[in-house]
Symmetry: C3
Subunit: 269 residues, 3 copies
């Protein structure tokens, strides 16, 4: 089923304006590799990141945050406990939260943790095709953070995960897929340079959290997040001479992006 | 009480020259979010950062460092033990050290840790208005890393903390406040882009440590650090198109900054 | 003994082409300070970094990676266990791996860990002069990450370590030294800006792992890695106005570097 593009074309820029106006507090429990990028992309967008991830603090912050982002990239023992604490608080309070199941499938600790977290009904799950397939039990996942499957090969898995959580699933790739298990939306602004910097997916995960923190319709919020992020990336790529200057310019473009530009540039496939 | 501006106008550029000449070894026990930026700003300035933060090593390094920077942003169990070990070594040896009480107040682990560390007499405490108020017991702090109070609303709290530690307190904001409990200095070179990148405060905290590592008068050293950092930030902002290019240019400007430029550009409010 | 320059001049650009063609999966167990840079330099080069460093996952990933990079910069308890697990897997499977003994000598935890890891026969050891001397037992090492000895003062130590591991040792500095205990090669493209950004050595360590992951002759692979990295750095320095813009441009130049440019620019001393 396809949501009417006209509805989305209105909702996407409005959601961006809501993020700018509210400056949502986004708690991030994320990996040590790209935590700096996640914080900086949220700040550039106009959100307020807070990275408290330890048990004894994670639940407290989840109680006051507008949304929570949980990323399994480097799940140390304290982080695993903090993630469960935060996700339980979200589940109890009805707080929107995003799960990013980095490299689940081949690696044991995070695969077991992802199964526990999935029970706590993430508002959105964001991953690459291999991760979403692994989460659905379709197969054993990719090699590390790289998808070994195409986005469309994960459509059934994405729908299955969405049905299980009662939430939204988005699969990142050249075309981003967003589904709530029945409706499927494809956002076609992906740029290859996003795969040449580390954290291209993590940064999007944090941004999805910012959007679901202010916009109640989680499918629209996720589509808007994918659109805002990849439109900014497209514009950054035009000014870049390689992956280093691209990552820098991406922050500038996220800060510069306005609703009319987004409405004009976002493409649905 | 105001220290004579003429004294400060001489001391500030001289302190920068002392940092350049000595290349102080600054041990940093800091958060995983902005640790890279803290190291890079110190290197750009001409200092030598060393990030050993584990118990069993932290005290050893504090014994040979010129100054130590302790930042509570992501205080895991090992880091908490390492911070206490390093701060105790500093207290015993009379080594200058800087405490950055990130997000104390609402979050339990770091609030308890900050209370312990405060007993070990940090040479300088650097924070935003909400953190300094929480440290003084004035109120419960902000939401995460964002100050919900203006700098001037923290003046009494800053003086109270300075009196308690026998050291200096600096409150970061559009105008940076520096006090030893009696003298109050205000440095007015703050730039809004410093709040659009993560670690704007952490980087200053590391730089304060570099200055107190070479310049004996802690009030002058802290004023000089705030001046050097925010003057570099002002110059970076002129060349930036957003928060990404600003952060990159800030490193370049910290490396380029010389004493005459600093003397001319620093403003006292 | 000197390997014939003509052999190296052929091998170096060919090894770069092999990295580009294979996109080796490089597992990194590295420090929280520069982990983002290590991942980004590998991505820029065309390799696929994966940063799993926890016991229970580290050995699994080592079983499928093309090479493993172990860096002792911030060796928390979980990381120490993960490093041993990964290195044991490498030793058992004959998987190439690189040890980067950051700040060994003065600091106890990592010095003990380095001694254990050295028994697991790293394919390459990369460090600065003080670290290699400390590893060889020549003296107590530098202060933190800074070398207090010149590269040539570590030649005997480098050869001794290479003989002990049966592998290659490279000492980084203005001129990079590479030896297998008998042959000695010097690559003379080092640039001072590499010491003004944090992780200049760590990034090279990851790149050495990428090269030994695809090129069987470890001495040639290490020379090629040093050459590719420092030639990219030289080119980045020409476009930089300071350490911030240098680090950004370094990623762009690593991505742009091709085999003919490398062959022309690499210099043997």
């Amino acid at each position: 089923m396809l949501r009417a593009p006209s509805t989305l074309l209105t909702a996407v820029p409005r959601a961006l304006e809501e993020v700018r106006a509210a400056g949502p507090l986004v708690q991030c429990l994320t990996n040590t590799v790209t935590v700096n990028l996640v914080a900086n992309t949220l700040l550039a967008l106009g959100a307020a990141p807070a990275m408290a991830d330890l048990p004894g603090e994670a639940g407290t912050l989840a109680g006051v945050a507008d949304a929570v982002y949980v990323n399994l990239g480097t799940p140390g023992a304290e982080q695993r406990a903090g993630m469960l604490e935060a996700a339980r608080a979200c589940d109890t309070l009805g707080r929107p939260w995003v799960l990013d199941p980095v490299a689940v499938g081949p690696l044991a600790l995070r695969t077991a943790l992802a199964a526990q977290l999935l029970e706590l009904r993430p508002t959105v799950v964001r991953g690459n095709a291999s991760e979403i397939r692994a989460l659905a039990g379709t197969d054993g996942g990719g090699r590390g953070v790289d998808a070994t499957h195409g986005v469309e090969e994960s459509l059934d898995a994405a729908c299955a995960v969405a049905v299980r959580t009662g939430g939204v699933v988005t699969v990142s790739g050249p075309v981003d897929l967003v589904t709530d298990g029945t409706t499927v939306v494809r956002v076609a602004n992906g740029h290859p340079l996003l795969t040449r910097m580390t954290g291209g997916g993590c940064a999007l995960g944090g941004i999805v959290a910012a959007f679901v923190g202010v916009h109640d319709d989680a499918l629209e919020a996720t589509v808007a997040a994918c659109g805002a992020y990849t439109v900014a990336a497209e514009r950054a790529a035009q000014a870049a001479t390689g992956p280093g200057s691209f990552a820098v310019r991406l922050l500038d473009e996220l800060a510069l992006l306005d609703a009319p530009t987004l409405a004009e540039a976002v493409r649905f496939a």
